[in-house]
C-alpha cells in the first residue's frame, strides 16, 4: 500500500481526527524511544558500579537548592542518576511487558483457536482450565509462578532467571482473555460459508484454522494486546514493588518506586515520584492508544 493509501484509510482518518489518540501516540513513542535509546540518552549507566559515587547520593533535582546540573532529576541512595535509572527502568518495564504480552498472545490465540474450532472435549477442557484460572487474581498467579520458580531454582541463579520468570508469570496470568476472545470469534467464523467452502474443497482442519480463521480473528486480539501491555507493565511494577520482581541491581520502574518509597517521608521525594510519573505516563498513553484502537476498529461505535 502506498503512502496515499495509508493516509486515506479509515483507521488513519479516525486517528487524525482524534487529538487524544495523537497525544497518546506521541507520548508512547517518546516513552518507547527513550527506553530503546537509553544507553545513548542517559547521562550515566546506572548498572555500571564503577561510575557510581556514594558521595553523590541523595542529590535533589537540578532546580532545587543544592541540586547539581549533572543530575537533572537528582540521585538516589546509591548515587545513581534518577533520570538514567528511569530510562533504563522503562526499558526493562517495557521489555518485560511486551514479552509477557507476546507469550500470553501466542498461548492464548493457539488455545482459543483450537478450542473454538475443534469444540467438544478439547474445548470443554481448555475453557474449564481458563475458568479456574480466572477465579484467581492475576497477581496471585504471578506470585505463585514466581514462588515456584524460586524454590525450583538454585538460589544463586535467582537474579539471572528473575526476568524470564517474571515474563512467564505475567504471561501465564494473561492468556485467558486472548483464548476466550479468539474462541468466540472462531466459533462465529467457523460457521461462515467460506470456512465450509474450504472444508468441501478438502483442506485439513489445521490448515483451515491457520490460513482461513486466524487472519479473520486477529483484529480484536491486537486491541486486547495493546491494552494488555499497559496492564502487564502495571503487574510487573506491582510485583517489583512487592519485591518479587526484577532485582534491585537491574531495576525496573516498579523497583525504583519501591526503593524510593523508603525515602519518601524523609524528604527525598524525587527518588520515588519521578519513576512514578514515568510509569503513569507510559501506562496511560498506551492505554489511551488501546482504547482508541478498540473504538476505531469497532464498526458499531463508528
Amino acid at each position: 500500500m502506498n503512502f496515499q493509501g495509508i493516509w486515506n484509510n479509515d483507521l488513519a482518518y479516525s486517528f487524525r481526527r482524534s487529538p487524544v489518540a495523537i497525544a497518546a501516540a506521541v507520548l508512547t513513542v517518546i516513552c518507547i524511544g527513550g527506553a530503546l535509546l537509553a544507553p545513548w540518552l542517559a547521562p550515566q549507566n546506572p548498572f555500571d558500579a564503577a561510575s557510581l559515587d556514594l558521595n553523590k547520593a541523595f542529590a535533589p533535582p537540578a532546580w532545587v537548592a543544592q541540586g547539581a546540573a549533572d543530575y537533572p532529576l537528582g540521585t538516589d541512595d546509591q548515587g545513581r542518576d534518577v533520570l538514567s535509572t528511569i530510562l533504563y527502568g522503562a526499558r526493562i518495564s517495557l521489555g518485560v511487558g511486551a514479552a509477557a504480552v507476546l507469550f500470553a498472545l501466542v498461548v492464548g490465540v493457539t488455545l482459543g483457536l483450537l478450542s473454538g474450532y475443534l469444540g467438544g472435549r478439547i474445548d470443554a477442557f481448555i475453557m474449564r482450565v481458563a475458568d479456574i484460572q480466572l477465579s484467581f487474581p492475576a497477581i496471585l498467579i504471578a506470585l505463585l509462578v514466581d514462588g515456584v520458580a524460586r524454590v525450583a531454582m538454585p538460589a544463586d541463579s535467582h537474579d539471572e532467571i528473575a526476568i524470564p520468570v517474571l515474563i512467564l508469570a505475567i504471561g501465564v496470568s494473561g492468556w485467558v482473555q486472548y483464548a476466550r476472545t479468539v474462541r468466540g470469534s472462531t466459533m462465529v467464523e467457523k460457521n461462515k460459508e467460506y470456512v465450509q467452502a474450504a472444508r468441501v474443497i478438502g483442506r485439513p482442519p489445521f490448515a483451515i484454522m491457520l490460513r482461513h480463521v486466524l487472519p479473520n480473528v486477529m483484529g480484536p486480539v491486537l486491541v486486547i494486546a495493546t491494552i494488555h501491555i499497559a496492564t502487564a507493565i502495571i503487574t510487573e511494577a506491582t510485583l517489583s514493588f512487592l519485591g518479587v520482581g526484577v532485582p534491585p541491581t537491574r531495576p525496573s520502574l516498579g523497583t525504583l518506586i519501591r526503593i524510593g518509597n523508603e525515602f519518601m517521608l524523609s524528604g527525598e521525594w524525587w527518588i520515588t515520584v519521578f519513576p512514578g510519573i514515568a510509569l503513569v505516563t507510559l501506562v496511560l498513553s498506551v492505554n489511551l492508544l488501546g482504547d482508541w484502537l478498540r473504538d476505531a476498529l469497532n464498526p458499531k461505535l463508528r
Partner: protein, 334 residues
C-alpha cells in the same frame, strides 16, 4: 433428459439428527431429557448424470442439511449416500470417500460470507487447484485462474482484487469459479441466488445453465423459490419437515402436483401475470420441528386429512416417474 442416464448420486433412507439439548448441567438441575431434532428423516432419491435435481421447501425443511450431508460437512446419523456407486457416508472407507468428494463442489447462499475477506480473488479461486493438487506449475495455475474468471464473466485482472470490491452478483461468480476450479462433475448449489437481486439472479441462473451445458455438470439445486426452480430443474423434490413428500419431473410437478403441500406451495407463488387464476388461500404455519405432529406431519394444515393421516406416517410411493408420500393420493381421494 432420459431416465437411461446412469445414476451419479444416490441417497438411501438418509437421516440426520441434531442434539439441541440444554447443556449437561442444566439438564441435570432442571431434570429435562436430551432433545434431538430430526432435521432430515428417511430421505431417499437419486440424481442422474447430467441432470438438475432441485430440492424445494420452506425454511427448516432440511433441504440445506441434505446438501451438507452430501458434500460431507455433516455425517449422516442413518442411511447411506453413494456417489458413482461408491459409498461416501461410511467413515471406515475414508480413502475412497475422499476420492469421490474431489468430484463434487458446493456453491453457497451468502456471497458475502462465502469468500474469505482477507484473500485475493485469485488465491480464493486457486485454492481447490492447490489443495487437490491439480496443477503444480505456478504459471499454469495463473493461466487456469484467468480462464476460470473469464468463464464466469469476470476479467483476469479481477483476480488481484479483494472480495469486498465486488457486488453480490460478482462475488457469486467468484464462488462459482472457485467451485469449478476443482474440475467437479457434480455441483451442490445451496440457494445460490436467494441473496441476490432479481436482475442479478437472472444473470447467475443463465450462467449456471450455460456452464452446465458446456461442461456437462450435474446439479443438485436447493431453493425455496419454485419459480427459480422451474427455470433450472429437470426433476424436483419437495421437502417438508425433514421428509421428502413428493418427487417428480419438473413439467409433471407443475402440471399435476400430487401432494397437498406441493399444491399449497404452488398456490403461494405470487400471480405475477395478474391472470386472476383461482388459488386457495394458504393456511397455517410450519409446526415446531422439535415436536412434529403425529402421523403425516402435514396433516394439521392439510384440507384432505383424515384419521389415517393423523395416525400413520405415509411413505414415499412411486407411480411411474413420480413419487409422493400421501395417504390421500394413495387412496385416490385427491
Amino acid at each position: 433428459m432420459t431416465s437411461a442416464a446412469p445414476t451419479l448420486l444416490e441417497l438411501e433412507d438418509v437421516g440426520r439428527d441434531f442434539d439441541v439439548s440444554r447443556p449437561w448441567l442444566n439438564r441435570v438441575i432442571e431434570g429435562v431429557p436430551r432433545q434431538l431434532l430430526h432435521a432430515v428423516d428417511g430421505v431417499s432419491f437419486a440424481v442422474r448424470k447430467g441432470e438438475t435435481l432441485a430440492l424445494v421447501g420452506e425454511s427448516g425443511c432440511g433441504k440445506s442439511t441434505v446438501a451438507r450431508l452430501i458434500v460431507g460437512l455433516y455425517a449422516p446419523s442413518r442411511g447411506r449416500i453413494r456417489f458413482d456407486g461408491v459409498e461416501i457416508s461410511d467413515p471406515s472407507t475414508s480413502a475412497a470417500t475422499a476420492g469421490m468428494r474431489r468430484r463434487m463442489q458446493m456453491i453457497f447462499q451468502d456471497p458475502f460470507a462465502s469468500l474469505n475477506p482477507r484473500w485475493r480473488v485469485r488465491d480464493i479461486v486457486a485454492e481447490p487447484i492447490l489443495v487437490l493438487d491439480l496443477l503444480k506449475d505456478k504459471v499454469k495455475i495463473n493461466r487456469r485462474v484467468a480462464e476460470l474468471l473469464t468463464q464466469v464473466g469476470l476479467t483476469p485482472e479481477d483476480g488481484e482484487k479483494y472480495p469486498h470490491e465486488f457486488s453480490g452478483g460478482q462475488r457469486q461468480r467468484i464462488s462459482i469459479a472457485r467451485a469449478l476450479s476443482g474440475n467437479p462433475e457434480f455441483l451442490v448449489c445451496d440457494e445460490p441466488t436467494s441473496a441476490l437481486d432479481v436482475s442479478v439472479q437472472a444473470q447467475i441462473l443463465n450462467l449456471m445453465t450455460e456452464l452446465q451445458a458446456r461442461l456437462g455438470l450435474t446439479y443438485l439445486f436447493i431453493s425455496h423459490n419454485l419459480a427459480v426452480v422451474s427455470h433450472v430443474a429437470d426433476r424436483i423434490g419437495v421437502m417438508y419437515l425433514g421428509r421428502l413428500v413428493e418427487i417428480a419431473d419438473a413439467a409433471e410437478l407443475f402440471a399435476r402436483p400430487r401432494h397437498p403441500y406441493t399444491r399449497m406451495l404452488l398456490d403461494a407463488v405470487p400471480d405475477l401475470e395478474m391472470s386472476g387464476r383461482q388459488r386457495t388461500p394458504v393456511a397455517g404455519e410450519v409446526p415446531n420441528p422439535l415436536s412434529p405432529p403425529a402421523g403425516c406431519t402435514f396433516h394439521p394444515r392439510c384440507p384432505h386429512a383424515n384419521n389415517r393421516c393423523r395416525a400413520e406416517k405415509p411413505i414415499l410411493v412411486w407411480r411411474d416417474a413420480t413419487a409422493s408420500a400421501c395417504h390421500a393420493v394413495d387412496e385416490g381421494r385427491i
